[in-house]
Symmetry: C2
Subunit: 335 residues, 2 copies
């Protein structure tokens, strides 16, 4: 059966169900506006580990365990884990998943990982390859600063356009059966590079990818912003969100009153001194699996498009003068 | 339709076809025993680029272009690229794919990436989500040494158990229609960590994952080594291959006369001074998409199991004293 309905979009015939989620946030995130929507807020971002890499890995592990518990599933019920993160060679995922007896596919989509995993996961369920799939991602402020920027102890000054990597994780459990919000469409992004070289302005680097995927989604499905209660981006932040909304108008779509961005939602931008907002795989991960999933379950949201964006550079290649490619993957979800 | 036939295996109903491949190898690899089976051998491993990261990215780009040319496809014919590599944040893939107007999913499976991409790609085709998928990976000796070990100029002494990262790339084009070898089964690995901490002995770290996936494949399918003309591993090398063959006997399977390893095939181990053999995503990539695919097309091989293995650590976490988790993904292919 051909499930393709456009150049970048497939329609899922069986509408895989998101039967449960787990969302865990760090200390600072737990002081933000969404504090009441996480399943758990860390008391100590180190999680008792001796390195930030192990802290992030442990964060993924406890998020996955919580998702299994909430869904009342045994490990043997789950056919695949799809996971990734920002750390070199995705060790956040690998060092957590080694404690689970579940087949695993590792993904790298930078901050787009939450929707990359929902995209592939929902296709595996829809195609009859899996009954249950877990989609998992995380980020950690301290491991990201250490790896991508400067050691925390250095106390580097942050540019006004910089975003604050969220300490948080999200895990969604997809199922061929059950109750809950359903994934109906998957629109897969292309790698887009518009020449932005400023690594302290990820929002500007990622916005063109978001525009490309969102335009493709509307074109492929025949839908418009009016068809959605919410168009949620992952971590474009203040600057990237403005670019997206403004340039989508040039494409003929006014999304201003439908668009929200997890990076703007998770922090009180002014009071929490996070400059252009939150970022990181765990930003979309914890906000989608926390606040947004709850609103879907309560039917305050009935049909949404979730589109996480990722910047696909590493530090070395940017120091060599290359620009920053980005990607955005979108999934449509309805109750 | 439920396609699952065991805890880790799915059977593909439509048997997606590998309609074409492209295989490119570096200078040293082009002097090895498989020299006549690559589509192209580099004259200069730098490919004219100013950094090894860009060299590897360009290697992926020309391999993908060659695969499109050989398959007589336009970019618009291809629904997805699935690609990844060993570089931090998979920049080998991202900086090549940005030049293609094709939806992209980034994978991280370390040296298991070739079969991870064939696994997910064949399921996307079998499920009706794609008509054509390109599965791509690479590795590069110089970018890997720089990132994982020491700068080339340092001239570090290599341990006898160390493997030599292959400069090479492979790209396979999967299709819902057409002639060629067909993918019939996908067995997905779990992350296995048996406590090996020696980063100069990847074969030993990866062999337990290979044993786990191979045993699951036989158990799930009811097949035995007798059902295959070849059981091909990715880059276990000399040491890992010995461990695999020996310990599979304890599991009740004698694979000694069916097993070959790309890391042992691509180099003349003694004459080319590569210690325990070749490694890297491009090892399985270039050998499978070169020599092995040709043998399948000529029907010298009729039914094979291809299982690439990956070591999932990064340098930082090993310096912290953690052991090395690994994974192996297998696909069964027949003419």
């Amino acid at each position: 059966m051909n499930r393709r309905i456009g150049k970048q979009t497939v329609k899922l015939e069986t509408k895989p169900v998101i039967i449960e989620t787990a969302s865990i946030a760090g200390v600072k995130e737990g002081e933000g506006p969404l504090r009441d929507t996480f399943d758990k807020i860390l008391e100590d971002d180190s999680l008792g580990e001796k390195s930030w890499e192990l802290s992030e890995s442990t964060l993924q592990r406890i998020t996955m365990r919580l998702a299994l518990d909430k869904a009342k599933l045994e490990q043997s019920d789950v056919n695949y884990i799809l996971a990734g993160d920002l750390l070199n060679q995705c060790i956040g995922a690998h060092y957590s998943v080694r404690d689970f007896d579940i087949p695993f596919f590792g993904l790298y989509g930078a901050c787009s990982t939450m929707t990359e995993s929902l995209s592939i996961g929902s296709m595996l369920v829809d195609g009859g390859f899996a009954e249950k799939v877990m989609c998992l991602t995380s980020s950690h402020f301290c491991s990201s600063e250490k790896q991508f920027r400067t050691p925390l102890e250095y106390g580097g000054q942050r540019a006004p356009s910089a975003q604050w990597t969220v300490t948080g994780a999200g895990c969604a459990v997809l199922s061929s059966k059950g109750d809950g919000p359903k994934i109906t469409h998957v629109t897969t992004g292309k790698v887009i590079d518009k020449g932005v070289t400023d690594i302290t302005n990820m929002g500007a680097a990622m916005a063109p990818a978001a525009i490309d995927t969102l335009t493709a989604h509307f074109s492929d499905t025949g839908r418009t912003p009016d068809d959605y209660d919410l168009i949620l981006t992952g971590d474009l932040g203040v600057i990237g969100s403005d670019i997206l909304v403004e340039l989508m108008k040039d494409e003929g779509y006014d999304i201003e009153y439908k668009h929200k961005d997890c990076g703007k939602m998770i922090f009180d931008i002014e009071k929490q001194d996070v400059h252009a907002g939150g970022s990181g795989c765990g930003c979309c991960g914890s906000v989608f699996c926390g606040y947004v999933y709850r609103e879907l379950k309560r039917r305050n949201l009935k049909r949404i498009l979730v589109m996480a964006t990722g910047a696909l550079m590493n530090t070395m290649i940017v120091y060599q003068g290359e620009s920053i490619p980005a990607i955005a993957h979108a999934v449509a979800i309805e109750c």
